[in-house]
Amino acid sequence: MSFVIEADDCERKTGLPMRGMRLIFCGGAVLLAGGCIQVKAPEKPIEINLNVNVKQEVVVRLQKDAQEFITENPELFPQ
């Protein structure tokens, strides 16, 4: 019951109809502050190539340690 009252309150303030894919969250705290927050779902799927990205992040982070490891273990790295 209280949600309906809040939603009506929000609709009146913004003039936007509550329909379709638009998600309108009107929390009690936000209403107290007199605001209204809209959250939209992204239209495109998010694509991340985890395999490459994570590895590069790891490699860059460990570079200095790897160089020290080579210097400290010259018998493992003959030239």
């Binding site: 590895k55 790891v58 490699v59 460990l62 340690d65 790897a66 490891f69 080579i70 030239q79």
Partner: protein, 130 residues
């Protein structure tokens, strides 16, 4: 000198001889490996291990395998210390060997599986080397 003392002397001498022979054998393998690297027959791979680029003798092949086993043991230790996968630590080391340790005339292997010979320009490192 008692018989027992004599026997223990002989045993000690035999152990010393065996140890020296083993050491000499390992040294010979290392020397052959160094020569093979200089000749571009054996080279560094982007995965952090040594590889055979051209046909080599059994002694060199054995030295490569032996060194790679030692590397893997050390990599396993380091990967655990840094909280990453063995493969990731090994590849990080691979980036560094390709970046700094491979000299002109020496062979190296990139992820595309092609052995190349280093010239005077820097090696085109794999993208994940950053």
């Amino acid at each position: 000198m008692t018989r027992k003392t004599k026997l223990s002397f002989i045993a000690m001498a035999a152990a010393a001889a065996l140890g020296m022979a083993g050491y000499a054998w390992a040294q010979a393998g290392d020397a052959a490996l160094t020569a093979a690297i200089a000749a571009g027959q054996v080279g560094e791979q982007s995965d952090g291990y040594l590889g055979v680029a051209k046909p080599v003798g059994a002694d060199v092949r054995a030295a490569v395998e032996s060194l790679n086993i030692k590397r893997r043991a050390a990599y396993t230790d380091q990967a655990a210390k840094h909280g990453v996968a063995l493969r990731e630590w090994a590849a990080t080391v691979g980036c560094q060997t390709l970046r700094g340790r491979v000299k002109p005339g020496q062979a190296y292997l990139l992820p595309d599986g092609v052995w190349r010979v280093k010239d005077s320009s820097p090696i085109a490192l794999p993208a994940n080397c950053g």
